[in-house]
């Protein structure tokens, strides 16, 4: 369980944080800066919640001490004065974020979760290996000895110390974030901040504010100035995941940062400069999006000066056994299964033959599930998920249709049955398949409402037309007089 330190002289905040965060972290508390520093020196923490005004120190002085102790420890300021200049200064110095008091349980938990994730991203070392037998490795291992992966490793070594933008491309689950972390950890900027933003996770206006910040009154709800990631990450590395899911207005601003390292906060006139290395990732067809007018050509060329292509696992099946050994020993250790001896040859054969639509992430999840479910010292095919035993070679996105008729799958009513079936089959992809089912239903419903008009549908859905087109293609939705899914899909 991650560890979070709360430094605040208000006992009520201690209680609130402990109760709110108990599902995700162990919480330790300190009432003064001295107590906090003492706890930091004696224990290892994954995030700190820091009051802006402490009895023995002001928050900024305390923040500097925390930075001296551990530069990568995410610090979230808490302030009862939302416009606190100290909080803004702290953000400019690299603090993770700040929260206005009174604290709300849900937003506190969400933000701390993000901070813990950030801590893991920037601090857990990524080791690169063509051999899984690495002893004493406490970080994450980037494994592969196929030709394609050796090329990836060489590219990381070649470009990590160059101060150029890097575009990482590959299917979901291939390890794009690991490449970004490896690039950062081997770069000259390794001691500076590493921040990650998922461009697909935020609506366009919020993404612009998240990246560039905003001035007070820039839009409804902008009650105070906010520092964006480009400003906060000055001197460091910014990982822009899902860079293909970005509105044209944000694309233009990112391009300007890439060209001139200059930008303005939303609603601001002051030109700010920053020194950020951008590492971007996508699984979208950016060239096609440029042709369709959904992506800026100049941004694409700026981004892909250096491109690292991650191969899907099905194209490097020779690596499956190596990854299997690694994930097995990791799961055995982490899930406390010391009696587990290994995997039967039949199981290895099935795992190697499978096409792995969810790539390495799916393989890892399957192994962990097998280790949890197995009561024998050797993992036999019986504990494998059905899709692997059956050797089905269909893409996961079409799995719903394999058990449900298109009419049923389009109605949206079969979600409980789908989840029940996936659980029965010990699937390790329940979340992704359920989300796909719901997403397809929503797309069909909205497209039907707009009689197939994609511009109107994109507006109703709150996504870009490019993103909608991408999803239509993914789900093989046919737009004719009605809206349907292709029968053979």
């Amino acid at each position: 369980m991650p560890h979070v330190l709360v430094i605040d002289d208000d006992r009520a905040i201690h209680l609130l944080a402990q109760r709110s965060l108990s599902p995700i972290a162990d919480v330790a508390v300190a009432s003064t800066a001295d107590e906090g520093i003492s706890l930091l020196r004696r224990n290892s923490f994954d995030a700190v919640l820091l009051d802006i005004m402490l009895p023995d120190r002001n928050g900024l002085a305390m923040y500097c001490e925390i930075r001296d102790h551990d530069r990568r420890l995410p610090v979230i300021f808490m302030t009862v004065e939302a416009t606190s200049q100290t909080a803004i200064e702290a953000m400019q110095m690299g603090a993770f974020d700040y929260l206005a008091k009174p604290l709300a349980v849900d937003s506190l938990r969400d933000l701390v979760e993000k901070a813990i994730e950030q801590r893991q991203i920037s601090s857990i070392p990524v080791a690169i290996s063509a051999d899984s037998r690495v002893t004493g490795n406490t970080g994450e291992l980037f494994i592969g000895r196929s030709k394609a992966m050796l090329e990836v490793f060489k590219a990381i070594g070649r470009v990590s110390k160059q101060d150029v933008p890097v575009l990482i491309r590959g299917e979901s689950g291939t390890g794009k974030e690991l490449v970004a972390r490896a690039l950062f950890q081997h770069s000259h900027r390794a001691a500076e901040p590493f921040l990650a933003v998922n461009c697909a996770a935020l609506p366009d206006n919020l993404l612009e504010s998240e990246l560039f910040g905003h001035e007070k009154g820039a839009f409804t709800g902008a009650e105070s100035r906010r520092i964006g990631k480009f400003e906060q990450c000055n001197g460091g590395t910014l990982f822009l995941d899902e860079i293909g899911d970005m509105a044209p207005s944000v694309q233009a601003k990112v391009l300007r940062v890439l060209q001139e390292q200059r930008f303005e906060r939303v609603g601001g006139n002051n030109e700010l400069t920053t020194n950020v290395r951008i590492v971007a990732a996508t699984n979208r067809p950016l060239e096609q999006m440029v042709e369709d007018g959904d992506y800026r050509e100049d941004l694409l060329y700026r981004l892909n000066g250096v491109t690292i292509e991650l191969p899907p696992l099905r194209e490097r099946q020779g690596d499956v056994e190596l990854l299997l050994q690694h994930f097995l020993s990791q799961a055995k250790r982490e899930l406390k299964k010391p009696d587990l001896e290994g995997v039967s040859p039949e199981t290895v054969e099935l795992l190697t033959a499978y096409h792995w639509p969810g790539n390495v992430r799916q393989l890892r999840a399957v192994i962990r599930r097998c280790v949890l479910d197995s009561t024998m010292p050797v993992i036999v095919p019986d504990v494998l998920p059905k899709e692997i035993i059956g050797g089905r070679q269909r893409e996961s996105s079409t799995m719903v249709e394999s058990v449900l008729s298109p009419r049923e799958s389009n109605s949206g009513a079969q979600l409980p049955n789908l989840v029940d079936r996936l659980l029965r089959e010990k699937s390790t992809n329940v979340y992704a398949e359920a989300v796909e089912y719901v997403e397809r239903y929503v797309l069909l419903k909205v497209l039907s409402e707009t009689h197939g008009n994609q511009s109107q549908a994109a507006e109703l859905l709150g996504i870009t037309r490019g993103k909608l087109r991408d999803r239509i293609a993914t789900y093989q939705i046919v737009l004719n007089s009605g809206v349907s899914i292709r029968d053979d899909a």
């Binding site: 208000d10 209680l15 609130l16 009862v80 709300a104």
Partner: protein, 132 residues
Amino acid sequence: MIAKPASTRIEAAVVTPEQRERFAPALNRVAGDVELLVSIAALVSEDAPEVFTSLQSQLSKRALSEVAALGHQLKGMLSTFETDGPVIILQELIHSARAGDQAEAERVLRRCNKELGDLIDEIKRLGDSSPS
């Protein structure tokens, strides 16, 4: 190894419908967890009166930097339960104390003195909302 906050969990807290309505935004912020809100109220009702008394005392001694710090502390405690009225006026008190304006600080405190006392009493009654 790691210090934990004192356990103040109150089982099966009972609050009146009026208290639920009065503190609805606060309850919303703690995701509807009545026990948590009552536990926080119990702590704040122990700590806030002392801070409020110190604030009044420091103001009479013209120790304005202490007044600003105590005002800040009190605002933090009370804002869990109330974000309008006296809590907003407390911010004015903090500003005037930071600006070194004794007369304005006294005027502001006079304006919110009774309301702050009433709010602390309401929080105390909420903190007492345990079954026994």
